[in-house]
């Protein structure tokens, strides 16, 4: 077994970390405080080319393997989760189905500009009455002439209010549940497509999240992304493991940022005449955090390696997302205990990590749903 990053992966990790340290970390607090999409940073960052991370070199991407993708997701989340969410939406979920099923014209119009950061992408799953329960999707589409007519409202859409295009999850028949799901591309400016409420979030601030409304929106035939009708849930399966592992990698990123903050504080903070890091109860916290983070890291990167090698990764991806997120919550909680009352003040970092970490509980499936999925898959049909 070889757990070591290759020399190329290791160099990539250090270069990405340095880029994040220079461009994103210094702005992380401001992004959080203003809670506005950081357009200047977006332009500066997208110019570097990372938005094409996971796509082939022939179309201007980097063709990064899954381990490198996780390295990137972890590092950017360490810098600013608010910014990371917008970036990763463009890299992964917001463009995946265009890359996979889009016509040449669609790729030219949407995918390639999104890879260059000239267009903002998003993906719309969640509705006010459905999130993890995708079978309950109420946004519908029907055949209308040479295209499709879409009706419905999506909620909690990352990049939604500022997106240039979105991949919408819609059903051909709400009674079909998961078997009626499909993906359709809708571009900004299409009549009937608009942005509604912008959500004032507790964490991950800086990413604009909100409601998207599809009021009798008509799109041409080619905007149905998929080779066959009603196979959306299978197509989703192609990318779901990566999405879950990505969420786990982001959790690792926040956990590392929190851990580093705790470590620096424990080494410097003097109480009762000595650094608090010499106290056994503080040392125990670091032993615990380090153990948990190592376990979470192994799960996330093992999952990425399995995915890269086309191995069955549904269970490990769900477990890694769930476990890494829980570890992140634990580490952030310990940071606030080590830091003392200042962790409760807006002028210090711990409160941001504390708020940001909570959001990872929901994306990629709630842990209650994931546990049910894992258990059900292991036990099988009885």
């Amino acid at each position: 077994m070889d757990f070591q990053l290759t020399e190329a992966q290791d160099f990539f990790k250090k270069t990405v970390a340095d880029t994040i340290d220079r461009l994103i970390l210094p702005k992380a607090d401001e992004i959080d405080e203003k809670d506005e999409f950081p357009w200047n940073l977006w332009r500066e960052f997208s110019r570097l080319g990372y938005l094409g991370l996971r796509y082939p070199e022939e179309i201007g991407g980097m063709n990064a393997d899954k381990v490198m993708c996780m390295i990137f997701y972890e590092e950017i989340a360490r810098g600013s989760v608010g910014f990371a969410q917008s970036v990763i939406m463009n890299i992964l979920m917001g463009t995946y189905f265009l890359y996979r099923f889009g016509s040449d014209a669609i790729k030219e119009r949407c995918l390639f500009p999104a890879m260059r950061g000239e267009k903002i992408a998003t993906m719309c799953f969640t509705e006010d009455q459905s999130g993890s329960d995708l079978g309950a999707t109420r946004t519908t589409f029907v055949r209308d002439g040479s295209g499709w007519r879409i009706n419905g409202t999506k909620m909690w859409i990352t990049n939604g209010p500022i997106c240039d295009f979105c991949t919408v999850l819609a059903t051909s028949d709400p009674t079909k549940g998961l078997k009626g799901l499909n993906f359709l591309l809708v571009e900004k400016g299409t009549p009937g497509f608009s942005s509604g409420q912008v959500i004032n979030k507790l964490g991950c601030r800086g990413t604009v999240t909100g409601e998207l409304i599809f009021d009798n929106v008509w799109v041409p035939e080619e905007n149905l992304l998929g080779e066959e009708l009603d196979k959306g849930v299978f197509y989703l399966g192609e990318v779901l493991d990566e999405v879950r592992l990505m969420t786990g990698a982001m959790a690792l990123g926040i956990a590392r940022a929190a851990y580093d903050e705790a470590l620096e504080f424990a080494r410097k903070r003097i109480a009762f005449g000595k650094p608090i890091g010499v106290n056994q109860l503080i040392r125990e916290k670091f032993a615990e955090m380090d153990t948990l983070m190592n376990a979470a890291r192994l799960m996330v990167y093992y999952g990425a390696w399995m995915l890269e090698n086309n191995m069955e990764s549904r269970i490990i991806a769900a477990e890694a997302k769930m476990y890494a997120t829980e570890v992140c919550l634990k580490v952030v909680d310990e940071l606030t205990r080590i830091y003392g009352a200042n962790a409760f003040a807006h002028e210090y970092k711990p409160q941001r990590f504390f708020r940001d970490a909570r959001f990872l509980l929901y994306g990629g499936g709630t842990h209650e749903v994931l546990k049910d999925f894992i258990g059900r898959t292991i036990i099988g049909k009885l």
Binding site: A8, D10, F11, F12, K14, T15, D18, T19, R22, L23, R47, L48, G49, Y50, G52, L53, E57, M62
Partner: protein, 263 residues
């Protein structure tokens, strides 16, 4: 035109460094980075390349194998190629030996201009640039803050002097030692990172360039580190107490006069 840039991989500023072996050696946490001042030199070489187009930027380091990572960073930024001269058997504390080896490389590989940072942030010697220039019998300019586009076999550069700035014209080939403020080093593009990841960086023996290895051994070193000491801890912060601002001010003046002795 060919520009050589000499770089060094140094301990990252965040790496934990422990004095070991009874003060005779250092144990460095495994975190290394491209020397801060060398990034300015690479950036400046790349800017000249962007202006003149027909320029090759070659980056060279003399150090242990791990230094390849610093060279990859240089390639990610845009350098054309990089070379590592392995210090495996010759590693000494003497900058004269490093200068001998780097000047040997420069002679062998050829150059029109050499750029380097003003000092390495680990040993802070700040001697390699001038020594290499002397060994190559070429002019050097230190503390450079601006390099104009070379023209007609010479280049105009600005350098900081006490209380002002000096502009000098220097004939090529030359060695320029750059310092902070000359530019803002670029963040590598992903295309550069990809190129760097795949780059084959040759690791060479000093003898490859006809360098007299026998004069570069530990025994030949003229400088040897005797011991390391960590800086003393900062004195404690003293709070000046007092019922009123006036009283606090009086006590502060007394402390500044009698204890700090700065008044």
């Amino acid at each position: 035109m060919k520009i050589l840039v000499f770089v060094k991989q140094v301990a990252d500023t965040e790496a934990r460094i422990t004095i070991t072996n009874n003060g005779r050696s250092l144990e460095v946490e495994n975190k290394y980075a491209l020397n801060f001042f060398d990034e300015f030199a690479i950036e400046e070489a790349l800017r000249i390349k962007e202006r003149l187009k027909d320029v090759e930027v070659v980056v060279c380091s003399y150090g242990p194998k791990r230094s390849i990572e610093a060279l990859r960073t240089a390639i990610a930024m845009g350098a054309d190629r990089a070379v590592l001269i392995d210090s495996k058997d010759l590693d000494t504390d003497d900058p004269l030996i490093t200068a001998k080896i780097l000047s040997g490389f420069a002679k062998g590989d050829g150059f029109d201009m050499i750029l380097c940072g003003k000092q390495a942030i680990d040993d802070e010697n700040a001697t390699i640039g001038p020594m290499v220039a002397e060994m190559l019998h070429i002019p050097h300019v230190g503390l450079v803050t601006k390099i104009e586009t070379p023209e007609g076999g010479e280049v105009r550069v600005d350098r900081d002097i006490e209380g002002g700035r000096q502009t000098v014209k220097v004939k090529l080939p030359c060695l320029l030692i750059v310092q902070k403020g000359i530019n803002e080093p670029r963040v590598p593009l992903i295309t550069g990172v990809m190129k760097a990841m795949k780059a084959n960086i040759p690791v060479l023996d000093p003898a490859t360039y006809g360098i007299d290895v026998n004069s570069c051994t530990k025994e030949e070193a003229k400088v040897k580190v005797v011991r390391y000491e960590s800086p003393g801890g900062r004195p404690p912060v003293k709070f000046i107490e007092g019922a009123t601002a006036e009283e606090k001010a009086k006590r502060l003046i007394k402390v500044l006069k009698e204890e700090a002795r700065v008044l």
